[in-house]
Symmetry: C2
Subunit: 194 residues, 2 copies
């Protein structure tokens, strides 16, 4: 009986789980293959290197996430709707794949020349650009945002990340409910439209 690509998927799963909980440098290739029930040459056959495994994990999960963000930004002139959609995509992704969001959070907050950070940087930059572009467009439709674009972007991203982080630590799904989005949006837009 051949496991075929089963082992590859198992390696991707275990890699994500371990990287998210102990960091890229905190996990050894031996840990990963042991968790996946295979041996090292199998892993190097599929991914070429430890970094290659990380890159494929990022490509899969971060790629999806960014696609959904881009879809959510299809009506940027509707600020309230896009706000909701953005938050919804983030919360849904965090609920569906908490480990990806842990990994993403750990990589986002790095500033130096860490290998793993460099691999994630293109995705992080793209994500930031989508949010920033939304607030830039929004500023041209709601004059009172003008001059606050950067602050709005930072506040939005920071709030969403902190909220998801609280969910990941507690496991309490009510933290990332639609109701939370409504409350956040209300607070956020009241501040803007003042």
């Amino acid at each position: 009986m051949t496991d075929n690509k089963d082992n590859k998927q198992e390696l991707l799963r275990c890699g994500l789980r371990l990287f998210s909980s102990r960091g890229f440098d905190g996990v050894s290739t031996a840990d990963i293959v042991s968790a996946a029930g295979v041996t090292k040459p199998t892993m190097y056959h599929y991914f070429g290197s430890k970094e290659g495994l990380l890159e494929e994990i990022l490509h899969n999960h971060y790629g999806n996430f960014i696609s959904e963000l881009e879809n959510a930004a299809s009506l940027p002139e509707d600020i309230a709707l896009t706000f909701f959609r953005f938050a919804k995509v983030c919360f849904d992704t965090a609920r569906r794949s908490p480990e990806f969001f842990m990994l993403r959070a750990g990589l986002m907050m790095r500033v130096g020349q860490d290998t793993a950070y460099l691999a994630a940087k293109p995705y992080i930059d793209r994500e930031s650009a989508i949010i920033k572009q939304f607030f830039d467009t929004a500023a041209s439709h709601a004059g009172n945002i003008k001059g606050k674009e950067t602050m709005c972007t930072l506040s939005f991203v920071g709030t969403i990340n902190a909220t998801i982080s609280a969910y990941l630590q507690s496991g309490d799904e009510s933290i990332i409910s639609d109701e939370t989005i409504y409350k956040l949006r209300q607070q956020f837009l009241y501040g803007i439209y003042s």
Copy 2:
């Protein structure tokens, strides 16, 4: 001529710098002592272990930071003032010691059982408790906060961290100016008092 405790300070400095840019697991003891211009036994003489070095770094910087946060929370019933003071402490600390804030950011966003994260957890929890207690007290003085305490805490912390992160990446000090604090406070309190 004796360098005396000079080497210890140099080790603390280099440790902070390297840990903040490449992460605890991404830095070797050889890297640290090489940067500090000493040898490994010197480092193990002072700190006992690589983790001991991290703990002393955290004790020094995080201890100061938390003390200042506690001072800033001395008048919790004055919401606007305390908001300003909290943000001011964070921004000033980030300006004075950006490397500490990078290190803190990288450690805060971890969820698993990483060694470095466990060393930082007491400080992170204490910090969260101070902010949370402020919003709890504030809720008893401003009824419209009631029920939003957690959300306010998350939003505040997330926004501050994202703002500082943007400053650390760009180096643009205007991002963490007093003017930014005023804008953030206005947006924040308008949302709350609605």
